[in-house]
């Protein structure tokens, strides 16, 4: 089956969640069956209100080998984090 059925990535929006989150993958012949399989595998315990399935082949991923080049430069730029502002007391919780 794994040889003839493509892989799909599954995204679920939970009851309280605003966005769909990646939960895993599965094999299915086509989009309709992938959606049903996702329902059967990933929403058995009331996890979801909405499901997306996306062919894995449609995802372009960064190369783990490029990790240093891609992500390390940000480590030294702490000023990008919004933690240097003084919030006046009157503003309260933001």
């Amino acid at each position: 089956m794994k040889d003839i059925f493509p892989i799909w990535e599954v995204f679920i929006r939970s009851r309280n969640g605003l966005a769909h989150k990646h939960v895993g993958s599965l094999h299915a012949a086509d989009a309709t069956l992938a959606l049903q399989a996702a329902r059967d595998i990933y929403t058995r315990r009331g996890e979801g209100l909405s499901i997306w399935v996306v062919p894995s082949s449609a995802i372009t991923a960064s190369d783990p080998a490029d990790k240093d080049m891609m992500f390390e430069p940000t480590a030294s730029k702490i000023y990008r984090h919004p933690t240097f502002y003084e919030v006046p007391d009157e503003v309260g919780h933001m």
């Binding site: 089956m1 309709t32 049903q36």
Partner: protein, 257 residues
């Protein structure tokens, strides 16, 4: 070996047992696939459908016990009636055979049960109406899932077409019994408790035909139909199924998890 349960089959008790037995036996059949389905994803799908049906059976057995008033529990009905005491339609006890047979059996039953439970939502019996409201959604999904497979197998390869066509031919003579109602049931229909099964048949045919057409399958003619399950006359397969289903309770009566 302990007791075989003697049930006081008043019309409403018998009515509940017939529906409960359909659900339990079909649920058990589906559970036989657990760990054996052609792919993991479908293994889960079949087990999910099995659990829907076993849940329906539990509610209905519990209610049958309340109506009967003899203190019988859901387990008593499931484990301590023999083959002749079971009231399920013959379709649901038929063996799984291959995946195509399992899917076709489920499709034909669910197409019936979906319409049936939709009609039962309006039952004057509050408990049955509540079971119906829950079951109708479950069966609607069984129809959707199995219909997608019927279409793909029918309109798939030569081999898948041949297998699903053979499954259709095998299952068809068992479909008539789903719409049968005896005198005890007709009384409940008159009281507004039970749905009139014969009134569902045209819609069932229309729904089934639409899927078969898309699957490039030919709807069989209604010829001679098998029956007997509703009064305890079963095919050779039910006894073997019950032997397995009841084995633990018959070996260690009262065993619990």
């Amino acid at each position: 070996m302990a007791k075989t349960l003697r049930v006081n089959e008043t019309p409403l008790v018998l009515y509940c047992l017939r529906r409960a037995d359909d659900a339990l036996i079909l649920g058990h059949r589906l559970s036989e696939w657990c760990g054996h389905a052609p792919m993991m994803e479908e293994d889960m799908a079949l087990a999910n459908m099995a659990l829907d049906l076993i849940g329906q059976a539990r509610s209905l057995y519990t209610y049958a016990g309340q109506v009967e008033g003899e203190g019988h529990t859901e387990d008593d009905f499931a484990y301590w009636r023999d083959e002749r005491g079971y009231r399920n339609a013959l379709l649901v006890e038929q063996e799984n055979d291959d995946f195509a047979r399992t899917i076709m059996r489920q499709f034909l039953y669910a197409s019936f049960a979906d319409l049936y439970w939709q009609a039962m939502v309006k039952s004057k019996d509050e408990t049955l109406a509540a079971v119906a409201a829950k079951s109708e959604k479950e069966m609607a999904y069984h129809v959707r899932h199995t219909a997608e497979w019927v279409i793909r197998l029918g309109d798939g390869t030569d081999e898948s077409h041949e297998r699903i066509a053979k499954a259709l031919e095998y299952c068809w003579p068992f479909t008539g019994e789903l719409f049968e109602a005896d005198e005890s049931e007709k009384g409940l229909v008159a009281e507004g408790i039970a749905a009139d099964l014969s009134s569902l048949r045209d819609q069932w045919r229309t729904n089934v035909k639409a899927v078969l057409d898309e699957a490039t399958l030919t709807m069989p003619q209604d010829g001679w139909m098998q029956k007997g399950g509703r009064s305890g006359r079963h095919s050779e397969y039910l006894g073997h199924l019950l032997t397995e289903l009841q084995h633990v309770q018959h070996t260690v009566p009262g065993a619990v998890w």
